[in-house]
């Protein structure tokens, strides 16, 4: 998008002095942290304007998010789907694409898993659970792969098409859940047939957090290795900087774009499968709970770095987990969390403008200022 981006020097295998490398690396940590701090200060002003105490707010938020073992587990559970849906944004972003419709892959992945679990009812769980995961990933991958293919082969803008596809996916899910896949016993809340208990995903031993968290962390590590340590990741970064240059170099840009969007979609589809098998027990309208949209925020806060997604997802999972407590204790609407998220999002995007501007972080400016 816009001007071609040159890969950051720090990530090239050129030996620079340790000090210079350190300066560039600390920039990538210092600026987002400073932005986060500024966002919190601005949000405090907002809280004061509506007549509440920011100190109370952050105190309650801390307690609701990470203050006790119970709340930590709650935050980690909420982080699990965010890890996967953030990858649905971060992987295509490596190629310069802004994909925001991960919600569609979640709901369809969840429906596919629930349908499969019902269809093969009776088979061994050791086969069925992996099959459900694969079904969710295939459907999610296909769904988002279409977005990538449309982008490359038809030049259809991926931001808008992914979002339209999310609306279509939710309509499809509603149609299936209220139609052919509906469990006649689900009266008030139309759902698919509940999964057999054997097919449910349990908790990590010693914790009240399901295995989805582990799946999410593993997916983030795999994505990081893919981007940083393989030739596909390297090719994707070149194509993300300048498509024409990549094509001249003989890189297969089309398959790269489709592959990265499809992989992102597969992870989001897996998030849907986990939501069904670990949380809901069946596919229903609760699948469209907005994880796909919060995942966008996670990916941008992590600056599209899969490893950074892990702490950011836990942080936002914590904010999410504290929402209920803030609502009850401070008598504030549940949308307070949305306002905070929106503010942080804007500030983080705004902070992009400061990269390379500070002398202390930019070795190129050292000589000039000296």
């Amino acid at each position: 998008m816009g001007t071609p981006q040159i890969p950051a020097v720090s990530s090239l295998p050129i030996a620079t002095s340790n000090l210079e490398g350190l300066a560039r690396r600390s920039e990538a940590v210092a600026i987002p942290l400073a932005a986060l701090l500024v966002g919190m200060v601005l949000f405090s002003v907002f809280i004061m304007l509506v007549g509440k105490s920011p100190l109370d707010f952050f105190d309650i938020m801390w307690r609701g998010a990470f203050g006790s073992w119970f709340s930590v587990q709650n935050s980690l559970s909420r982080a699990a789907p965010l890890l996967l849906t953030a990858l649905c944004v971060a992987l295509p972003a490596r190629l310069g694409l802004v994909v925001i419709g991960g919600e569609g892959a979640i709901v369809l992945g969840g429906v596919a898993a629930a349908a499969l679990g019902w269809w093969v009812d009776g088979a061994s769980a050791f086969i069925v659970i992996p099959l459900m995961a694969i079904a969710g990933m295939i459907i999610g991958g296909l769904w988002m792969g279409i977005v990538g293919a449309l982008r490359h082969y038809r030049a259809v803008n991926e931001t808008i098409s992914s979002l339209l596809m999310a609306y279509i996916a939710i309509a499809l899910m509603n149609q299936l859940v209220e139609g052919v896949l509906r469990d006649p016993a689900s009266l008030n809340k139309p759902s698919t047939h509940p999964l057999a208990q054997a097919y449910r995903i349990g908790n990590i031993p010693g914790m009240d957090v399901h295995w989805g968290l582990v799946a999410g962390i593993v997916a983030c590590i795999i994505s990081w290795l893919l981007i940083e340590k393989t030739r596909w990741g390297f090719a994707a970064r070149i194509a993300g900087g300048n498509v024409r240059a990549a094509q001249i170099q003989g890189l297969a840009v089309g398959p790269l774009i489709v592959g990265f969007t499809a992989l992102g979609g597969a992870f989001a589809g897996l998030a849907g499968m986990i939501e069904v098998a670990a949380v809901q027990g069946s596919a229903n309208a609760s699948l469209a709970a907005g994880y796909g949209y919060t995942g966008i925020l996670v990916a941008f806060l992590a600056r599209q770095n899969p490893l950074a997604i892990i702490p950011v997802a836990i942080f936002l999972g914590g904010i999410d987990a504290a929402g209920g407590l803030i609502q009850r204790r401070m008598d504030m609407p549940d949308a307070t969390i949305l306002v905070l998220q929106g503010m942080l999002f804007i500030i983080i995007l705004f902070s992009e403008t400061f990269y390379g501007r500070f002398v202390i972080f930019n070795p190129d400016l050292w000589k000039r200022s000296a």
Partner: protein, 307 residues
């Protein structure tokens, strides 16, 4: 219901529905056309629309005047637009990503301040009964045209004319096609884009005000079904032409009215799929009208979304 005129009820209901459903699309897409013609894209109009819906409803409840509500919504939309326009002038700030963030922020603020207005009911915007000559209730219902639709129709003609024939229209087009050419003419592209985004925000907020003050005519957290975003796609389909926006909005409105119209004559199969018609239509149109290797006819040269 449809007994007297039988299946004729379906096209009639679609016509009436198209007029009702298309109005917010007209306003959001006209606003986005102004913004995009200046070379910037504002995806945050969805948030602006929801905030405009809340503001209009809240002010109308408090003052009893729908027009004051409309005015307040437009002012809030200008603020959101100006903020987007201001923040995007900084280098390396991505207008599409900021739009997504503004969508979240605007929606969050609207839900935050809108909580007390979910219960009380506000007055509605007036409509003009063009169906007075008929005694058939369906015809009357279909031809009950709200004033914002008429204003939107007039505005699309006015904007179409203004882009071609006025100095302001020319300035916006120059800035949208080439920042360098604009600078050579002594125009500051950032100022023009700031104003264009501000006006675009006002239009989007009026679209939102229509949702809460006319159809469906209430304020709740599900007031928007993505109109603000679909309008962005619609602008591309309309090739940045205000008259095209009007026609495309009507088409979308008709598609959106298809499901409820069929339901009214007893077709209930596939209700949710009919609900998806506008989205499928948008996507199909985007696929049909885009093509790799060349930029879209009529696209502003500085627009990041078509690059």
């Amino acid at each position: 219901m449809a007994g007297e005129i039988g299946l004729w009820g379906v096209p009639l209901a679609i016509l009436g529905g198209a007029i009702r459903v298309s109005t917010p699309f007209i306003f959001v897409s006209l606003g986005e056309t102004i913004t995009e013609r200046s070379g910037r894209i504002n995806l945050g109009l969805e948030g602006t629309l929801v905030f405009g819906a809340m503001t209009a409803y809240g002010v109308a409840v408090e003052t009893g005047s729908t027009w004051l509500g409309l005015l307040a919504a437009a002012l809030s939309g200008i603020c959101f637009g100006l903020f987007h326009g201001w923040i995007c002038k900084f280098p390396k700030v991505n207008d599409i990503a900021i739009g997504i963030a503004m969508m979240l922020f605007g929606t969050g603020l609207a839900f935050f301040f809108g909580k007390p207005f979910i219960k009380p009911s506000a007055p509605h915007l007036p409509a003009i009964a063009f169906g007075f000559w008929s005694t058939i209730p369906q015809v009357q219902a279909a031809l009950d045209v709200n004033v914002l639709f008429l204003i939107g129709a007039a505005l699309s003609v006015l904007l179409w004319w203004a882009f071609k024939n006025t100095r302001a229209g020319l300035i916006i087009r120059v800035v949208g096609d080439s920042s360098d050419a604009a600078r050579a003419m002594g125009i500051n592209p950032n100022s023009v884009r700031l104003l264009a985004t501000g006006v675009g925000g006002a239009f989007a907020a009026i679209g939102g005000a229509y949702l809460s003050l006319y159809y469906p005519g209430s304020w709740n957290e599900r007031i928007s079904s993505g109109q603000g975003l679909m309008a962005v796609a619609l602008v591309i389909f309309a090739r940045w032409n205000p008259l095209g926006c009007f026609a495309a909005a009507l088409l979308f409105g008709g598609a959106g009215a298809l499901g409820p119209s069929l339901q009214s004559v007893g077709v209930t199969q596939g209700y949710y799929l009919f609900y998806a018609t506008p989205y499928v239509l948008t996507l199909a149109i985007m696929i049909a009208t885009s093509s790799p290797g060349r930029s879209l006819a009529g696209a502003p040269g500085e627009l990041s979304i078509t690059k």
